[in-house]
């Protein structure tokens, strides 16, 4: 995964992203215009990146989880909790970095909780993470006492709205996180082990992979990613909204990973592709907005995308395609 060839750049996902962007450009000719103002970049394209950053960050953790044949439904609720903790801490007089640390700790704790349920108690991931999906938002509301906790802490606001080298902070964070996690996963053996556990957990255990520890780690990373996204969203609106922060974003993150080519049945994964998946989703959102359709129209398009992907990935399609392709195989059984 160290060598990036042109073949890897020109694939279905990037072509889809470029097509959606071009479609936006047709609908809205000023789409690709980027301006430099007050030391930072502005424009629709930058906006797509900026708005897409939280889902992209969630998708980074979600991709690893899905690759192990799991799913993490709790990330939206964890976002709400981490935002609530960060906001409450700064309002209570703690410094920005402490608040960020507190929020990340919450994310880690949530990830560990999910990981223990999945890896140690062997509860199905979808069920295990459902608990926190339901209770987490309640806990977030408990922390904020139901109101939107506003703050003016410069650190948090910088994370949500600041810029670095002209790029919005969320984009910088998402990009840095993508590079970091991709490097960690691919430069160590973790990526291979994640895929091995996702493809065949029994064989992985027999081959000497500590699959429980691995699952625990993967869910923890997903929790931390959710916490980071939660801080960004809170910083963006200068307040923690426990009701709406991260609402339904777990579904977008799953969708991003699936668009990025990770199968829900585990196995092969690519974090950059999932990030591109998140950008495709955001580009569609933006496109629908600029063309004047109601934002909810997006949902219909998403449903269409899921349906198409499912049909392509399904064994039925495999059989139909396989019929035209190679006719042998099916030896063992």
């Amino acid at each position: 995964m160290t060598r990036i060839s042109f073949g890897r750049i020109f694939n279905t996902q990037t072509i889809a992203l470029v097509s959606v962007l071009l479609l936006n450009w047709i609908l809205f000719p000023g789409f690709f215009k980027i301006e430099w103002q007050d030391g930072r970049l502005f424009g629709s394209l930058i906006d797509v990146l900026n708005r897409g950053a939280p889902v992209a960050i969630l998708a980074i953790g979600m991709t690893a989880v899905i690759a192990t044949k799991g799913v993490d439904l709790s990330v939206g609720a964890v976002m709400a909790m981490s935002g609530a903790v960060a906001a409450t801490l700064v309002v209570a007089g703690y410094s920005g970095p402490v608040a960020v640390g507190g929020a990340l700790a919450v994310g880690l704790a949530c990830g560990l909780w999910n990981g223990v349920l999945v890896a140690m108690l062997d509860i199905q991931p979808i069920i295990a993470t459902l608990v926190l999906m339901v209770a987490g938002r309640g806990i977030a509301q408990l922390i904020t006492e139901g109101s939107i906790v506003t703050f003016s802490d410069p650190t948090l606001i910088f994370i949500g709205t600041g810029s670095f080298l002209g790029m919005p902070m969320p984009v910088v964070i998402a990009f840095a996180l993508m590079v970091l996690v991709t490097l960690v996963v691919r430069k160590t053996a973790i990526g291979l082990f994640i895929e091995a556990v996702g493809v065949n957990r029994s064989a992985a255990t027999l081959a000497g992979i500590r699959s429980r520890l691995l699952l625990l780690t993967v869910y923890s990373v997903s929790g931390i990613c959710a916490a980071i996204a939660g801080i960004i969203v809170a910083g963006d609106i200068r307040g923690a909204d426990a009701n709406n922060a991260g609402l339904w974003l777990e579904l977008d993150a799953i969708l991003a990973a699936v668009i990025g080519g990770t199968s829900l049945l585990g196995g092969r994964f690519s974090i950059p592709m999932s990030v591109i998946g998140a950008l495709i989703i955001q580009a569609m959102n933006t496109g629908i907005l600029v063309s004047g359709y109601p934002p909810e129209f997006n949902l219909v398009v998403k449903a269409g995308i899921i349906t198409v992907i499912l049909m392509i990935q399904s064994p039925l399609a495999g059989q139909v395609l396989g019929f035209f392709g190679r006719k042998k195989s099916g030896a063992s059984r």
């Binding site: 608990v131 339901v134 309640g138 977030a140 509301q141 909810e296 129209f297 399904s314």
Partner: protein, 325 residues
């Protein structure tokens, strides 16, 4: 004793203890008025949860029900207000649409061999998006039929009211219980949740049953949407967001195994009532806030998942040892 009864008994016991404790603190809770409101306020959730019970017993999940409720409300409101149809005609159309919708999901789950989770997620996006495409706003329903139905009730001894929708929910539960426990279709649903391979070897029509299960769930969600529109006299595309989670919660707390194969429609009823009790208690208390509902549901969910894990652990281990044989 049948071990699948244990989670159900736990639910009933928890409900009774919780209710007794609540009554001890607020004697006003023990009245037919409160009980009547219980039924009315939770009618749409209860009806949805009946469908969800079938889905979960069969080993699946249906995330689309909340969106179907929202869609139904909008569709019915538009058919009545903009097209001037009689509500009963509108209801029939809505139910037919929901039946098709559920059948499509069931077909996709069976023939594309994809997890129900992701298919019904697409269904959720489609129904929610579809509702918003029809209208962005809340569409009021002003029809005398609505006001008539909404004001129908039986007076209960003690001043309580058993409303039409409350009664409808009870009827749906009775219907659900009969279908689940006394029909061949019901036994097929349990068979699918128990072991799909065995079921198909024993002659269960797997494809047909799967389609029927999701049709049932969507149609009951549609009925819940109708009830919800009676309740609010309006259709709103973002109505009942997140109801799927409440419904799943009620089903699991009611003693149904989330991995399928075991469960009771009556348990779901107790589960819905328990959720209603938590909400009513919070309202009575006044100092507690609504978010405690979610936290309590989450805790109950966790407890029941762990309880089921313990009750059914023995059989799971048995399965494993046979794998290695």
């Amino acid at each position: 004793m049948n071990r699948s009864m244990r989670p159900l008994l736990a639910t009933v016991a928890i409900f009774l203890v919780a209710y007794a404790a609540a009554v001890f603190q607020f004697p006003g809770l023990l009245s037919t008025r409160v009980l009547g409101n219980f039924l009315t306020d939770n009618a749409f959730l209860g009806i949805t949860a009946v469908g969800m019970t079938f889905v979960i017993i069969s080993g699946g999940i249906d995330l689309s029900v909340g969106a179907v409720i929202g869609f139904t409300g909008v569709l019915v409101a538009v058919l009545i207000s903009s097209f001037g149809l009689h509500p009963l005609v509108a209801f029939a159309i809505a139910l037919a649409v929901a039946a098709l919708f559920g059948a499509a999901m069931g077909l996709a789950i069976h023939y594309l061999e994809v997890p129900a989770f992701i298919v019904t997620l697409a269904g959720m996006f489609l129904a929610r998006g579809g509702a918003s495409v029809i209208t962005q706003d809340s569409v009021p329903i002003n029809h005398e039929f609505y006001s008539t139905i909404s004001s129908l009730y039986f007076r209960l001894p003690g001043g309580g009211r058993l409303s039409f929708v409350g009664l409808l929910m009870i009827a749906v539960f009775v219907f659900g219980a009969v279908v689940a426990h006394r029909t061949r279709f019901g036994s097929y649903v349990y068979a699918l949740g128990g072991n799909t391979t065995s079921a198909s070897l024993m002659g269960v029509p797997v494809a047909r049953t799967t389609v029927q299960i999701y049709m049932l769930s969507s149609m009951l969600a549609c009925l819940a949407g109708i009830v919800f529109s009676l309740y609010t006299s309006a259709g709103y595309p973002l109505a009942a967001v997140g109801v799927e989670l409440d419904a799943i919660g009620a089903v699991v707390i009611g003693g149904t195994l989330l991995t399928g194969g075991y469960g009771f429609v009556f348990g779901t009823f107790v589960g819905v009532m328990l959720l209603g009790l938590v909400q009513t208690y919070i309202i009575f208390d006044g100092t507690l806030s609504s978010w405690w509902t979610k936290i309590v549901i989450g805790i109950l969910l966790f407890l029941f998942i762990v309880l089921q894990r313990l009750v059914f652990a023995a059989s799971a281990r048995g399965d494993r040892s046979s794998e290695t044989a």
